[in-house]
Amino acid sequence: MTTVNLMSLNKTYPNSTAPVLKDFSLSINDGEMIALLGPSGSGKSTLLKLITGIERPDSGDIQFDGSSILNIDPNKRGAVLMFQKSYLFPFLNVEDNIGFGLKVQGVSSQTIRAEVKRMLNLIGLPGIEKRKSGQLSGGEGQRVALARALVTNPKLLLLDEPLSSLDTEVRMNLQEAIRNIQRELGVTTIFVSHDLGEAMAMSDRMALLLNGEIVALDKPENLFHRPRSVAAAKFMGVSTFLNGNQLTVKNEALSVPKVSSDQARLLSEPSGRYTKLFAIRPEHIRVQKDGCENSMQGVVSDCVFRGEYVEYQIAVNEMTVRARMPMPAPMFPHGERVFVKFPREHLFEVI
């Protein structure tokens, strides 16, 4: 249906010096669901505003199927939005809300009625046409908002954290529903989120945004297991980074995966500055009583029982190592001397 090209977009708001978007480029394939993940202020919302036409970029281009849409009026672009709040018009019932986009296009009321009916079946809420929008639950409201967005057969669907105000269970159901409907209709979708789990569950590809730039773009599983940069790794929940000095303890080097030929030489020099940086996911770190290969000694500064896993904070030399082990896992009192083990196969290089 639609491929979307965002090309070298720049945007700085008036009365502000810092750009919100810096030379931002991204290509989205037809029918793809791409997640934009980033903290607030990273430029996600601005990007959506540029695409919908509420704001104009300072430079760069936005293309749908190879042709620029920048000079098309916002209401003619076919990029529809769904927000955290449903924004169902309170003065219209469900049917008129869903039919809004068709009505302003001048579609006959008979067609609208049929289309609304089809959409209500699709979102799994048949027969609620005459209900007032105030009578819907949060999850129902979002489903209706989704139907309202999709009924116009949009070129691009933009989801701006549509689930973040819902309870966990409703949220899980809706994640699944949105994903299925999106696949079924094959609509190209941009999904903005700050929730890592949700972004991974929903998207074909994930783009990590920081200060208006993409720091990583890949399939969720690749980003999760092997983020390439420190920034990307931090996004994905990694907090333990080891450089050369930390990899060498009392002349006893930790062993790391082979990454380059000069690694052995650098590691053999106790005071040598080893420029490579390695990272490890918290759930791959082992905390244990006895030392072993590839382990370092430290002191327990915190140990929290979380139900399905135990979370540790261990002070090792000057650094704090955060680890997480699934149950059953040992509990340690504060101040206990323990060893943290970094299994060799789980250490990966980052830049």
């Binding site: 919908t52 036409g53 509420i54 916002p74 209401n75 003619k76 672009r77 076919g78 990029a79 529809v80 939005l81 927000f83 709040k85 924004y87 018009f89 309170p90 003065f91 809004f100 986009g101 302003v104 296009q105 309202r148 967005a149 116009t152 933009l158």
Partner: protein
């Protein structure tokens, strides 16, 4: 003790509030109510009949209604764009804008009216309906702007973005979404602009200069030495629109009462 005091107190409060209406009715619909009689002895609708057939009274009401209607519509048109930016945007000089629009509520109508009297005499607006309307807009505009801007401050612009992304034209959005969602505040703002204009005495006197006669002008001159029955009847006619408006907007008033200050 407390059981008695509270209802008694409340009864007194309500009595004070309703008393003027009862009083006016007693005077307006009675006749030959001589001095020591505590209550009217004879009831009649003669004064009422005479009032609704009196061309002076009728034309003053019609004129007042027209003026108030046009004033409230014009205030609304002038206030909407201003209220929107004041309610939704943060910009440099916002405080200043507030202060300037606030000025008409601080500067006494007396001073405004006397100055405008001279100005309008020179440009030929004195004694005309247009002049009176223009003068009435000065006190109504701030109230309209305050009421609407606080409504805009509660309004979420994403409703508009939503409608825009769904393909609605800006025109359609303004009339069918934005105004629709602000209807309660619009109603309150319009009604109170209407009432401020309807009850305006001093500005009408100074600008109308005897050419434009509205009900408050008639009432004022009657009250300066007239027949109590006629005074009461004119009072009843004068308060009828406000009483209706306040009764019908009671609920909204609880939210907006603050913004409608005592100028009115």
């Amino acid at each position: 003790m407390k059981r008695i005091i509270t209802p008694l107190f409340r009864f007194t409060l309500y009595l004070v509030l309703i008393a003027p209406l009862l009083l006016f009715a007693a005077y307006a619909f009675s006749t030959r109510w001589f001095f020591p009689q505590p209550f009217p002895a004879e009831w009649t609708t003669t004064t009422f009949q005479r009032a609704i057939h009196d061309s002076r009274t009728l034309s003053s009401m019609a004129q007042g209604l027209w003026i108030a209607l046009l004033v409230s519509v014009l205030s609304l048109i002038l206030a909407l764009p201003a209220a929107r930016v004041l309610g939704l945007r943060k910009f440099r000089g916002r405080q200043l804008a507030w202060l300037l629009l606030f000025l008409p509520t601080i500067i006494p109508p007396l001073a405004i009216g006397m100055g405008l009297n001279i100005l309008f005499l020179q440009i030929g607006l004195a004694g005309t309906i247009a002049g009176v309307i223009l003068a009435h807009i000065i006190p109504t505009l701030p109230y309209t702007i305050f009421t609407l801007s606080s409504a805009f401050a509660r309004f979420d612009e994403n409703y508009e973005f939503q409608a825009l992304a769904l393909g609605a034209s800006p025109w359609h959005i303004f009339f069918k979404v934005t105004l629709r969602m602000m209807t309660p505040s619009l109603v309150v703002a319009t009604l109170f602009a209407f009432l401020i204009s309807w009850s305006q005495y001093l500005l009408t006197l100074l600008i109308g200069g005897g050419q434009i006669i509205t009900l408050p002008i008639l009432l004022f001159s009657a009250a300066s030495g007239g027949n109590p029955s006629i005074i009461a009847m004119l009072s009843l006619l004068f308060v009828a629109p406000p009483v209706l408006v306040v009764a019908f907007t009671a609920r909204q008033l609880n939210q907006h009462g603050e913004e409608i200050r005592e100028q009115y």
